[in-house]
Symmetry: C2
Subunit: 388 residues, 2 copies
């Protein structure tokens, strides 16, 4: 309905890369980000990778006059790194933890220790917002072909899509901002957009000011690792603002920060005919399901091999216990091994047993979650095919 | 609106206590449960503690003709134990994992290993359903006063309430069934009901057939541990069916299984005046917040003591390393300790270091989640107080 009251939203989204002790010139950058935010007047500010609560408190203090409402989402060992600043009161928040988020033993990636979650806020005019924290460091092209994290990232994309579907039924405007760690044409992005009906603010924009092709990780940035971006001389686009308007129509010009002009009313944006959309969506879900299946088989293999290792370590321990008992009972001809090696071997076996058992439990969980996602996708495919 | 089309729902809810290798006469009981369900014609069947997927498959095969739609919620190492059978197509499901669920080292309770989650299903007529799995074994009265799990259970009740609020905005009927492991007057139940507006099917029932006071864990049950129920000669009520109708009015007679007669229409059930309700709700949230605060301080103490233990173990290791290096460099006067004791001590220190570090990480997470919940509750209280 043209001519209705206009809702204009200025949204700012940034992955701050503010890891304590690790990120270069962290405090200086956080301070500068705060300066920019205080100078500009956004309506919503979505920040990711603010890992230190101290940084959040500093920002909160600095921005209190311009953005009186804020929230920091706590989760995981280190935290979720997600926070939001707002000009409007935040009515309610909810945190959803992904069921899979990398491996605890991949310490160098550290994803498992981060809060594997999506934060949701609800504002008074029905805006709902979700932020996806970076699920894991995106690997450059030479690694994209053997991306071990792909099934986990697809499970996360699926869970995020499901979460948005279920929590946004009554929202007028849905905004999803964050570092999705996926290229625009990747199956995870297509799945997320297809299953939720979210639109990409960059591709829908009538006006855009920013890096070429909307890239958000560019070689010109003095903090990026140049070698990782070798296959992409222009850079890559992995940060997104996605949106959906259910009770109005977005007419947006997108600058660095996204700007929405939302006309309140009952008019719905024109959609492509349902049947063709659903055929494409079914293809995307099928593709994602295939990848999840590949991950499932890998997880099953790892569950099996860690289980076998645990059993072997247990057998070794039992053998040692039998030998020790035999020596004590005076059956053996003296001490077959030197005491020290014997003890060391026992401790080694105990260590392997504990480690292998822990990993076995972890991969059991992984198998369950991948199976669950695969089944949900099958259910979704059936629903898509059965719809008249 | 009287006289509108009537929606009649027959709902069955049961904690099946079907733990592989542990539950007595499991297979026999599961078979009998299947027989009853096949004989009766319910619309929705919510089962908890079906830990074995094999049991679920058996039930699915048996019940396929009467309940063509079903779903098993997978999560955790062992699983969530939740499944649902339905006469109506299940459009969509979602699993929400609680952020806290007991302690990994409390092996005898085993809660940490279970799927700490609530399952949600959506049906074609807008029914939304959530099932809360047993969060942990309820302790009898002598333990209720020193209930170490209370803060965790309150976090779960709060997260469940938030989850229901956010996912049920567009639902006509909300049903929550499950073993909540809380007495009707407990703060967790009051919090859940107050914050969501859910009604207790038992107290609202005009007709009821079942155990006295609606008890669901009774001494007469040959599988219950009599000693645990000594302070409650009649038994206790810990299983619930809660409901909310937003676009109709429930007129229910409640038998063993809950029976709803829902008249579709725009009429809303009469509610007590808003201000008095909100005053009570604020009291409940305050009470819950106090308990969460108690849990938070306990978790902070544990985080501190496990951290200290890790540091001590690390110091011991460093000391040993220095002594060993000193001996190697020929500084010491020979070997100060026998080699075996020295090695044993080193392994002990490594073990303590690993264990204490793991526990420290766990309690750090616990602190974060308790802090997060406390802040959400504070936000809720402010919203309650500020509302005109």
């Amino acid at each position: 309905m043209e001519g209705g009251p206009t809702l204009r939203l200025r949204v700012f989204d940034l992955n701050c890369w503010a890891i304590r002790y690790l990120s270069k010139r962290r405090q200086e950058r956080v301070q500068l980000i705060g300066d920019v935010l205080r100078r500009e007047s956004f309506d919503l500010v979505l920040l990711q990778e603010v890992w230190s609560e101290r940084d959040y408190s500093d920002l909160k203090e600095k921005l209190g006059s311009r953005y009186p409402f804020s929230h920091y989402f706590r989760s995981g060992v280190i935290g979720s790194g997600l926070c939001v600043f707002s000009r409007f009161p935040i009515l309610d928040t909810l945190l959803y933890q992904y069921s899979l988020n990398g491996y605890p033993y991949m310490l160098q990636h550290g994803d498992w220790f981060c809060g594997k979650s999506v934060g949701l806020g609800r504002w008074w005019h029905g805006v709902i917002m979700a932020m996806l924290p970076p699920s894991c460091q995106l690997h450059a092209e030479y690694c994209r072909e053997k991306d071990a994290y792909l099934p986990h990232r697809l499970v996360q994309a699926w869970e995020l899509a499901q979460f948005i579907r279920h929590t946004s039924k009554a929202a007028d405007v849905v905004l999803v901002g964050g570092d999705l760690n996926m290229h625009p044409e990747d199956v995870g992005i297509r799945l997320l957009r297809g299953w939720t009906g979210l639109r990409d603010a960059f591709t829908e924009a009538t006006r855009f000011e920013g890096c070429e092709d909307g890239c958000t990780l560019v070689p010109n940035n003095c903090f990026t690792v140049k070698s990782e971006l070798l296959p992409f001389p222009l850079g890559i686009r992995i940060d997104y603002i996605l949106y959906k308007v259910t009770s109005g129509v977005p007419r947006g010009s997108v600058l660095g920060p996204v700007l929405f002009n939302i006309v309140q009313g009952g008019w719905h944006p024109t959609e492509p005919p349902l049947s063709s959309t659903e055929a494409t969506l079914a293809d995307v879900v099928t593709e994602a399901r295939t990848e999840v299946g590949v991950g499932l088989r890998a997880a099953q293999r790892q569950r099996y091999s860690t289980g076998r290792m645990a059993v072997l370590a247990l057998l070794l321990l039992l053998l040692q216990a039998a030998a020790a008992l035999g020596t004590l009972a005076g059956l053996g001809a003296g001490q077959p091994f030197p005491k020290l090696s014997f003890t060391l071997l026992a401790f080694l076996a105990i260590g392997v047993l504990l480690l292998a058992t822990g990993l076995h439990l972890f991969h059991t969980m992984e198998v369950k979650m991948l199976q669950g996602t695969e089944e949900q996708m099958r259910m979704a495919l059936r629903a898509l095919q059965e719809r008249p």
